[in-house]
């Protein structure tokens, strides 16, 4: 399966989000670059609202991620609860 990735700015807002992504995606690997964290995963990567809320102790709207996103790879689908990146082949 091809790699999907999501790259986020390195800052206080993204720290718990990255932690949540690592909890929810066993194949996720973190690649820390200057001022940027790139998370690679095998074929599929899910960002779950509930996990972020548990880690931060506040309500979280997944659209907030718009502010800190740098780049990504893969097809995308976003709902109230999840952002999914995936390849079909």
């Amino acid at each position: 399966m091809s790699t999907v990735f999501l790259a986020l700015q390195t800052n206080e807002e993204t720290r718990p989000i990255i932690e949540a992504i690592l909890q929810d995606n066993p194949s996720a690997v973190v690649d820390e670059q200057p001022a940027m964290v790139k998370i690679n995963a095998d074929g599929r990567l899910v960002v779950r609202r509930q996990t972020i809320e548990e880690l931060t102790g506040r309500d979280y709207d997944l659209q907030e991620l718009q502010v800190n996103m740098i780049t990504m790879s893969g097809n995308l689908d976003q709902t109230d609860d999840e952002i999914t990146l995936f390849w079909k082949a």
Partner: protein
């Protein structure tokens, strides 16, 4: 007691439907083809516009909210930057030439992208792509403005940035990025979406923004890093738009597949040629390197683009053929480009230099198959000549490729010792090309590319001198007249970094910042 139950807010999907398709209507007294006149002539067949959906499901109300947040973050950083003399924190003043290249080569394209997406969005009968294009159009003008604001803090202290837009429309090498975008916005709305939305944003943008922004971060440039990230945060949405548009077109009708494939082939190559400037920036212009051009091509195109084209194979779309030639060029591209700029440093709006010993070592480690054999000896010779007082600035004009407008500097695929020339006779004139791919693009649309405004031809025709110039007077210096036309000052804005005012001023100011004088 009755409890007042707050009415449940709409979910993301419902909100998206209400705020996009829900705002659309079917015209009753005007014909669709009169309202959307450009939608049919490219041959793309769309049967159901409602099948297009933005996977982020972003609506305008949310868009304003998050964009405002980005602006607040950006401008507070820019304030801190100026309050702390941020310009003195960059690794070394050579870095500033990267900023000059970006401001005159890329920022004006953001503005053209703004116009392009406004135009394309207006032409689409579907509300989904129309709203997404509106957002991207607004993003692009935001990028143009924030980049100009951020870089204006450097313009207060350093040379070559004073009239970037004037330069963009005139300076010889800037016709490369300019003509690329002009080519895209003069295409039909579907081709524009495939060219910029898909080929540039999805396939190639990571090669432009990620190295540039991490380059800024590595080199202590807080201003460029921040506007870069702020722009980049919109980029993920642009990439998604590009990918969704292409999947949508391909799913609508099998007849669309060959048309789209031709566009992908064309625009991947066109975009790659523009990235020559980025390749050179990564390997030569960043005092502290992030990764080599070759490494970045391997990660972002070969690996990531490979995954993308594998995914698109189910529609019958193939990896563009030009990828094979690009793979052969990756050991040579940046070196051939930097050699050219070193030659023509008298006619550019930034400074050049020869890599020092450490940098040569880095280059030979990153390019073991090509650097020591082909490029290091050339540089050592030039460095030696410069030390003897024989620094040679080339003042004759190069032949340009009719399609990409880059001087004919590239070598034959597979033979880096031989310059690649191709030509075509068309209606009694001869046209020159740097490659088979640029030649094929011309041959498919000759009437478009014969109109190219080639800077070298224009200079020879006398169209690039200030008004009232008489080129027949004795002792006429064409380069001096061209620099005046560019609004560049000889000896201040051009030539080598070592003899520049930038170098001298930066050293003095940094000295003042650390000593009590």
């Amino acid at each position: 007691m009755d409890m007042t139950v707050a009415k449940k807010k709409l979910g993301l999907k419902e909100r998206y439907a209400v705020m996009t398709r829900g705002l659309d209507w079917t015209p009753s007294y005007q014909k669709m083809e009169d309202i959307y006149p450009y939608i049919a002539y490219e041959g793309i067949k769309i049967h159901d516009w409602d099948k297009w959906e933005d996977p982020f499901r972003l609506t305008m109300d949310a868009y304003w909210k998050y964009q405002a947040e980005k602006e607040r973050k950006l401008y507070s950083v820019l304030d801190a930057f100026t309050q702390n003399n941020g310009h003195l924190n960059v690794t070394d003043a050579r870095y500033l030439n990267t900023v000059k290249l970006f401001l005159s080569g890329i920022s004006p394209l953001e503005y053209v992208a703004h116009r392009g997406f406004a135009h394309a969005g207006r032409q689409f009968p579907g509300p989904g792509p129309r709203v997404a294009c509106l957002m991207q159009s607004l993003d692009e003008i935001r990028h143009a403005q924030t980049q100009v604001h951020a870089v204006s803090n450097y313009n207060k202290y350093y040379n070559g940035m004073h009239d970037f837009h004037h330069a963009h429309d005139r300076v010889w090498f800037l016709s490369v990025p300019k003509s690329f975008f002009d080519d895209a916005i003069t295409a039909g709305p579907f081709e524009f979406m495939v060219s910029i939305g898909f080929s540039f944003e999805y396939v190639l943008t990571n090669l432009l923004f990620v190295p540039f922004v991490s380059g800024a971060a590595y080199n202590g440039d807080m201003a460029a890093m921040t506007f870069g990230f702020s722009a980049q945060s919109d980029e993920a949405r642009h990439m998604t738009l590009g990918l969704e548009v292409i999947k949508f077109i391909l799913e609508q009708d099998p007849d669309n597949v060959p048309i789209v494939q031709r566009w992908i082939d064309k625009w991947t190559w066109r975009g790659y040629r523009v990235l020559t400037l980025v390749a050179m920036m990564m390997d030569y212009m960043l005092p502290k390197r992030t990764m080599s051009w070759k490494e970045s091509w391997e990660i972002y195109f070969e690996e990531n683009g490979g995954a993308l084209f594998k995914d698109l194979a189910r529609y019958g779309i193939k990896m563009p053929q030009c990828a094979e030639q690009i793979a052969l060029e990756k050991d040579h591209l940046s070196h051939q480009a930097w050699s050219t700029f070193y030659n023509y440093a008298a006619a550019a709006n930034f400074h050049t230099w020869m890599p020092d010993e450490d940098e040569m070592e880095w280059l030979s480690a990153k390019y073991p198959n090509s650097f020591d054999k082909l490029y290091r000896p050339r540089y050592e010779f030039w460095r030696e000549q410069a030390a003897k007082g024989n620094r040679f600035y080339n003042k004759t004009l190069p032949m340009l490729c009719q399609t990409c407008q880059i001087p004919m500097i590239f070598t034959e695929p597979g033979d880096p010792t031989k310059i690649c020339y191709r030509e075509v006779d068309y209606k009694g004139d001869k046209y020159h090309f740097c490659s088979d791919h640029c030649k094929a693009i011309f041959e498919h649309e000759p009437e478009k590319y014969v109109q190219a405004w080639l800077p070298v031809h224009q200079i020879y025709q006398g169209n690039c001198f200030p008004e009232g110039t008489d080129p027949t007077v004795e002792g006429f210096d064409p380069l001096a007249a061209v620099l005046k036309y560019y609004n560049l000052e000889h000896g201040r804005d051009n030539l080598d970094f070592d003899v520049s005012e930038d170098k001298k001023n930066f050293a003095e100011w940094r000295g003042q910042a650390t000593k009590n004088i």
